[in-house]
Amino acid sequence: MELVEKLKILAESAKYDVSCSSSGSDRKKKKGMTGNTSLPGVCHSWAADGRCISLLKVLYTNDCIYDCAYCVNRRSADFQRVEFTPRELVDITMNFYRRNYIEGLFISSAIKHSPEYTMERMIQVVKILRLEERYNGYIHMKAIPGVDQRLLDEAGLYVDRMSINLELPTEKSLKLLAPQKSQKKMLLPMGYLKDKLIENKKEVKIYRHAKPFMPAGQTTQLMIGATQDTDFSIIKLSEAMYNKISMKRVYYSGYVPIVQNNSLLPSVVKHPKLREHRLYQADWLLRFYGFQADEILSKEFPSLDLEVDPKCNWALKHIEFFPIEVNKASIEELLRVPGIGNITARRILQSRRFGPVTYLDLKKMGVVLKRAKYFLTCQGKYYGEIDIDSDKIRNRMLFIDPVAKKIHVDQVNMFEQYPTLFGGG
């Protein structure tokens, strides 16, 4: 089979994996080796769906023994099964890298024969890259749940980042759609990798020659919209991942109805883009804005509001905290204002050292005034033009302001495929 055809099939099989960031690893050039890595990551292109392409994202093989209902590569699906040889994949990676098409390799795989067999093949690819081709760039490997720890140990020495996809937030959903997988089987290696990472951090400090183990940490992915799981259970799970397993990122993948006529799966007509987008916004609140999952949603209100973003939603529910005076507020308070992000908040603090911040300055500093103006005062003056009342502000945002209206009707994904710009990773 021709290489072009093979690449086409194995890229198509890999495209539903969302993770593509190349951040988190800061490795300088080395003599006799090719490449380096960039801490914030670099996007090299954008595909027609607007998602960034940073890594060469392919499956090693799409030949799978599992039969997960939602997956393109499930055993019962009738289509062509192909497999790279390690050499082919290495050549493509090196040649793409040298032409600056990509930032590195993202290698994943369907499970052929057994988890061990597959993982060994993938390790073989990265070993050739690192040891024979002297490749020093970024590698992200998808670990296969259920493999021997020895293989995880070995892979961790050669890759920058490893990830294990949790796919579905609850054991129940997993039982339903992917009966051969279990949550325990996936959480176990995650915990193991976390311990290894902590141990390695200590070692690197003490021993000069200790090899760094997965310097960019681990990530995971959850699928949205294929089961009845609520947003609340999803962000609770993400919060636990960030706090307990020190996960670098949790990715959310809106379920694309690739599999037709399966009674287990919802007959989704539309791709849940907006819900996915709102989940990413909530995720950012958890990681960069000091929010707790319980502040964003609760058992009583388990779904994210699709009309307004989660931060606006929180602000409208806690209108008693507002308005905030930008010239006096602390950074934590500023971060609670819709329309003020991390960079802007820091700029405001910096600027205050030189004199009071005026309303005109706010716009220059990057405050999104069409949202923020209802929640702040500047030098004592309130610019919202209407009473500080949740319902009034909400109505105004949704129906009077044409720009906001448009955003709330058809806003799609802005953040999720561009992790590096927003300091993710």
């Binding site: 072009v4 198509e12 292109s45 027609a48 607007g50 883009k273 600027s351 030189f354 220059k364 799609v412």
Partner: protein, 245 residues
């Protein structure tokens, strides 16, 4: 009313800054002599670039102000903006008088123009760290043509001399007829009008088609969104992007 003109180089601009201080003149502006439009009310004086003087100014910026300050000025300078040298001169006078932290006062009329330009240039540099596409020629030279909005050639050189330090490459700005050459050891920038005649490496077309195939098939059909794609990767850059042609 006197304005200084420099030869278009960064060192030339710094020499003007030096002279402005040394001659204690009330300098109204500093301009690139190739861009300058003569004005009846201004006396324009060409300042000859002096590497020693420019080095002194450069050192003073790093030592008395800060490295951040220096980077902002370098980035802003390569925007090729008509007024950029004047803005930099004003900012430097303001900075040397008031200390390095003025750079954080980003709404100040002396600081804002330089920081804004520097940020625009920096954003484009980061974009091109990804969007530069090399073509492998016979003989093993990797060659890239592109047409950035700002003068990115000197800014990209540093990154690629680390990333691709074990191969010979050329990055050629077609718009400015400027290129950076790297010989596995050092890089240097020079005027360049393109290659007249060259042959591609035997495998070049194979990898080009592989990349195009990959780029096409990694997109999810159900969520095609050309507007989003364009907002990240503006159409003005497509001409030299292999996968978009």
């Amino acid at each position: 009313m006197v304005v200084y003109l420099y030869d278009g180089s960064f060192e030339g601009m710094l020499t003007c800054v030096y002279e402005g201080y040394y001659l204690k003149e009330d300098v109204q502006g500093i301009f690139n002599t190739y861009q300058y439009e003569a004005n009846l009310f201004q006396e324009a004086r060409f300042i000859v670039t002096d590497l020693e003087k420019s080095h002194k100014v450069g050192l003073a910026i790093v030592e008395k102000l800060s490295e951040t300050f220096f980077h902002k000025i370098v980035n802003a300078f390569f925007s090729d903006d008509y007024d950029v040298a004047t803005h930099i001169y004003k900012l430097l006078r303001f900075g040397f008088k008031n200390g390095p932290e003025v750079i954080m006062n980003i709404t100040h009329p002396y600081v804002a123009p330089v920081v804004d330009l520097a940020n625009s240039v920096g954003r484009e540099t980061h974009l091109f760290v990804g969007l530069v596409r090399f073509v492998k020629l016979k003989g093993g030279i990797y060659y890239c043509e592109f047409a950035p909005t700002y003068n990115q050639v000197p800014l990209l050189a540093e990154h690629f001399s680390h990333r691709l330090h074990d191969q010979v490459w050329v990055i050629h700005d077609v718009k400015r007829n400027l290129a950076v050459f790297y010989d596995k050891d050092q890089w240097y920038v020079n005027e360049f009008y393109g290659l007249n005649d060259y042959e591609l490496d035997d495998e070049e077309l194979l990898y080009q088609s592989l990349w195009k195939t990959f780029h096409k098939h990694i997109a999810i059909q159900e969520r095609i969104n050309p507007n989003l794609q364009r907002s990240f990767m503006p159409k003005k850059y497509w001409k030299y992007l292999l996968e978009m042609n």
